[in-house]
Every structure is written in C-alpha cells, then in structure tokens.
C-alpha cells in the first residue's frame, strides 16, 4: 500500500488534559479509512489534527509526527493555508455560506487567487457534477445555498471542498445530520470519489464504516485500539475490546 499521509506517536493536549495518546496510522493513497469509536474517544480531535483545524483552539499542544507525502505538517516553516487547500474537510453539519450556490463553490477558487471567470464557471460545474448534485441545482445556481435541503447542502459542501482540488478529504461524520436516503447518496459519493482521493472519514455508524471504507481504525478513550482492513476488523478483530464494540456489547 502506497502511503499518502501518516501519523507516528501523535499526542494531543487541551491545556493539561491529554486527549490523544501515541496514535500511529497510515493512510493509503486513494483509499477510504474510517475512524470509529464511542463519542468522546478522540476520533474527531484526531481528524482535526490532520489539517491543523485544532490550531483555532487556544491552549492546545501537539507532539509526534504527522506527514503528508514527505513533509511534516506541524513544521513551523510549513504554511497552514496551503496545507488546508491540499487537505480538504467536510463537517458534521452542512455549513454552506449564506451566499449563492455558485459563490459557495467559487469561494475556494477565489481565495486561492483564481480570477479567470471561464475557469471558475468550468470548475463549479465539474465540482457539482463530481458531488452528484449538478442536475438538482444547475437551474438555480444564483439562488441562496441555504434554500437547499440538508442532504443537498451537504453534497454542496462536498462539492465546495472538491473545487480546490484537494489530495486528501477529511469527513467528520458527514451524514450524521441526514436522513437515510440522503445518507445513501453521500455514501455512494464517497465510494466514487475514492478513485481519485484519499478519504478519511469519522463515523459513529459501524455499518457505514463497513460499507464505505477499505481500512478502519478503532479509537477508545484517546487511544488507538486497533487498525486493520475493514473486512478483517469487522469479521475477526485481533482484540476482545474491538469485538465487544463492533458487536454492540460495549458502553
């Protein structure tokens, strides 16, 4: 397996509280990796270490190694803005800007300095198609994104993340606020996107992890308990603790 991103011995602190202990995971290129575990286990915190979103919180401390390709992302000389362009993110709740559908997608291009109008139009269409929402919104690109349904908003947010052409896509429980049909669409989308992107998805839904991911990592109390191919982890886990969790005998 060719590695796109990895962490080695990652520790994470909120002030004096240690939230993550010694986490080491490899993320294969163009694979989907699912992070599972009970709420509060640190899986979202871990995800946010990967694009330095935790930098927004005062008083945090990170130790260990986080590499994207061959560069250490916590290296002071590395530019966090460029990092976040390369490592996109989709959030738990759909969070479109209060702008038009078109402007939501164009936003990432504009802030990254693209001025060419025909290029922008082209990328907006391509991204919306990639996110499988083009047919639903192509006639109302200038309407507010807030008028879309929750599922549509989330696919719009995925399209928005895709527009800046990221190499890795982080997804923080992207379907937890959606109904089953919208969830199914998002899952199909993830599978499709994985041919071009490295995807890391946090989910509390084990069926979802089993359906969409190639590899799965199980977190508990800030520690990585087990990481393995999804099929293996769900059928014959190495540890009793993992088995208890995936079979629902747990907490």
């Amino acid at each position: 397996m060719e590695i796109k991103m990895h962490t080695r011995g990652l520790d994470f602190f909120y002030g004096d509280f240690q939230a993550l202990y010694n986490i080491s995971i490899d993320f294969g290129i163009n694979r989907v990796t699912a992070l599972i575990g009970p709420s509060g286990c640190g899986k979202s915190t871990y995800l946010r270490c990967l694009n330095r979103m935790n930098d927004l919180i005062p008083g945090i401390k990170v130790a260990g190694e986080v590499k994207l390709d061959d560069s250490e992302i916590y290296d002071p000389s590395l530019d966090v803005v460029t990092l976040r362009r390369r490592v996109g993110m989709v959030f738990q709740k759909p969070n479109p800007f209060p702008k038009s559908i078109f402007e939501n997608i164009a936003y990432g291009l504009r802030v990254n300095g693209v001025k060419d109008k025909s290029k922008i139009t082209q990328v907006v269409e391509k991204s919306l198609k990639q996110a499988a929402i083009w047919d639903e919104v192509k006639d109302r690109l200038n309407e507010s994104a807030l008028g879309l349904s929750g599922g549509q908003q989330q696919r719009l947010c995925i399209a928005r993340a895709l527009a800046v052409d990221p190499e890795v896509l982080l997804m923080d429980e992207p379907a937890s606020a959606l109904d089953p049909i919208a969830t199914q669409k998002i899952e199909e989308l993830i599978t499709e996107l994985s041919s071009k992107l490295t995807i890391i998805i946090v989910t509390h839904n084990m069926q979802q992890a089993a359906r969409v991911s190639d590899r799965t990592a199980f977190f508990y109390m800030g520690k990585l308990i087990e990481v393995n191919d999804t099929d293996t982890l769900f059928t014959k886990p190495d540890l009793k603790q993992t088995e208890d969790y995936i079979t629902g005998r747990f907490g």
């Binding site: 530019d79 803005v81 460029t82 802030v111 300095g113």
Partner: protein, 295 residues
C-alpha cells in the same frame, strides 16, 4: 507578496487599531493632568479638595471644590435612591414576570429612555418640573438638588435595568427549577434564589448606573440651580462638578488659573468614575457566576 504574508500584516494592523482605545484613554488622562496640575502651584491639593469656597474669579480667587464635590455626591445619592429600586425592579419584572409580548414593549421603552438626549431631559427639568415643584412644595426655586436628582434618576435607570436584567437572565434554570420543586412560590424563588444568585451582576449595574449619574453634565447644569454652596436641604440649589466645568469653561481664559482649576475638577471627576469602573470591573470578574456552585 503571498497572501499568507498579507494575513500577518493585516493582523498587526488590527492589533494597532485595537490599541487605539487604551491610547485614547491614556491621552485623556495625560491631558487632564497636564492641564490640571498647574493649579496646585497656587493652591495645595488639600485646600483644593477640602476648601469650602469656590470663587474662582474673585481677587484673590478661592479654589475650594468641597461644595461642588458634595453637590455631586448628594445629587448622585439621591438619584440612586430613586433609580436603584426602580431599575432593579424593572429588571426583575422584565426577566421573570413579564410575558414576552409585554417585554417586547417595555424593553424598547427603557432603551428609548436611555437614548433621550441629556439636554432634553435637562430642558424638561427646567421648564416643566421646576415650576411644578415650586408650586407643589411652595419653595422659592424649582431648580434644585431634588429636581436634578429626579432627572438624573431617569438617566441612570436604563443602565441599571439592562445590566441587572442580563445578570438575572443568566441565572441557571436548574436553580429556579430546584426552588420550584421544593414548593417555593415564584415570588419566594425570586427573593431567595434569583436575586442572591445574580447579586454581583446587580451590584455592577448599580455602580455603573451611579457612575453615569455622577458624570452626567447637562442635567445638573440646567436643573440643579448652580449655587456653589453647601446645601442644607434637598430643595437647595447645588452646583455639581460637571456643571461647574461646563458653565465656567467659556469664561476661563486659556492658560489662566481658573482654566487649570477646571481641568483639575475634571481630574477629580475622572478619578471618581474611573474608581467606580474599576470596582465594577473587579466585582464582575471576581464574582462571576460559575454554574450553580457560586450560590
């Protein structure tokens, strides 16, 4: 230039601008002291603060501001006696009792009262309240301490009310429910739980309200009567500190002793309000309510 560098530059610019307020405050202090201190070449600090006679234009002049200080203190205390109960009671009514629809009407009323220009309130005290008081109490002048206090009270009520209301509103619902669950009436819950729990906020409100009253100028300039003497009754005219500055600055030649004396009064006034604000700041930080534990 990369946009990341622009970002750093922008942040520094914002920091510089944010320092403007503290710079302005420092400049205010510097200039007050710079223009006020020269008066102490003529009169000692003690004679200035405790002197009983304020005749700044006589030959030789008297620069004793005790009558002005007492004028300010009395007017503010009297205004407080009206405004504190009124403001707190209104706050309790708004936060606890009034239906949302009534609150929707009363809140803008309080806000409009707050926005009423002080010169209009002073004018009202002068042309409406003064003749009314004169007739009602059969007194020689209607422009006096009581009139000014009454007008000041209505300027302090909105401050006291809105800050108290915030404090009362932020009392955790769990506390209220606990009290109700023990069979207390709403009235008893307000008196025994809600008011004690929001006391530090209410104190802050009172201090800031009084601070506003002691610094208010136009009302005391127009409605207090303007006599720089030690009052003996609430119907005596007084001349509080701000009124003295405002009334006399026009006649004080630039750089004269009188001019410096007025700035020194400004220093005294500034010290009063600065002290009030520091106390309020201290109380609101020190006794900030943290969950239910601080009761």
């Amino acid at each position: 230039m990369r946009r990341q560098d622009i970002d750093k530059g922008v942040q520094s610019v914002f920091l510089l601008v944010a320092l403007f307020s503290i710079t302005a405050l420092s400049l205010i202090m510097v200039f007050l002291f710079l223009e006020g201190i020269p008066i102490f070449e003529t009169v000692s600090v003690k004679d200035f603060v405790f002197g009983k006679y304020w005749y700044p234009t006589d030959e030789p002049a008297d620069f004793g501001i005790m009558p002005l200080i007492l004028g300010s203190v009395y007017v503010t205390l009297l205004a407080g006696m009206i405004a504190i109960p009124l403001g707190i009671m209104t706050a309790i009514y708004l936060a606890e009792i009034a239906s949302p629809r009534v609150a929707e009407i009363v809140k803008p009323i309080v806000e409009l009262l707050a926005s009423m220009p002080s010169v209009v309130i002073g004018f009202f005290g002068m042309v409406v309240v003064a003749p009314f008081l004169q007739k009602l109490f059969d007194i020689p002048v209607g422009l006096n301490m009581f009139n000014a206090s009454l007008m000041l009270a209505f300027m302090a009520v909105p401050t006291i009310c809105s800050i108290s209301e915030d404090a009362i509103f932020s009392v955790p619902t769990a506390l209220k429910e606990a009290s109700f669950a023990l069979g207390a009436t709403h009235n008893e819950t307000i008196i025994r739980v809600i008011i004690p729990a929001s006391l530090s906020g209410i104190c802050t409100a009172v201090i800031l309200g009084l601070s506003r009253a002691i610094g208010e100028t136009m009302v005391v300039l127009m409605a207090a009567g303007g006599a720089a003497m030690l009052p003996t009754s609430i119907f005596d005219p007084v001349r509080p500190l701000p009124a003295s500055i405002a009334a006399e600055m026009a006649e004080a030649p630039f750089g004269s002793e009188h001019y410096h004396a007025l700035f020194a009064i400004g220093v005294v006034l500034f010290v009063f309000t600065f002290g009030f604000n520091l106390i309020a700041d201290y109380i609101s930080h020190k006794f900030r309510q943290v969950g239910e534990a601080s009761l």
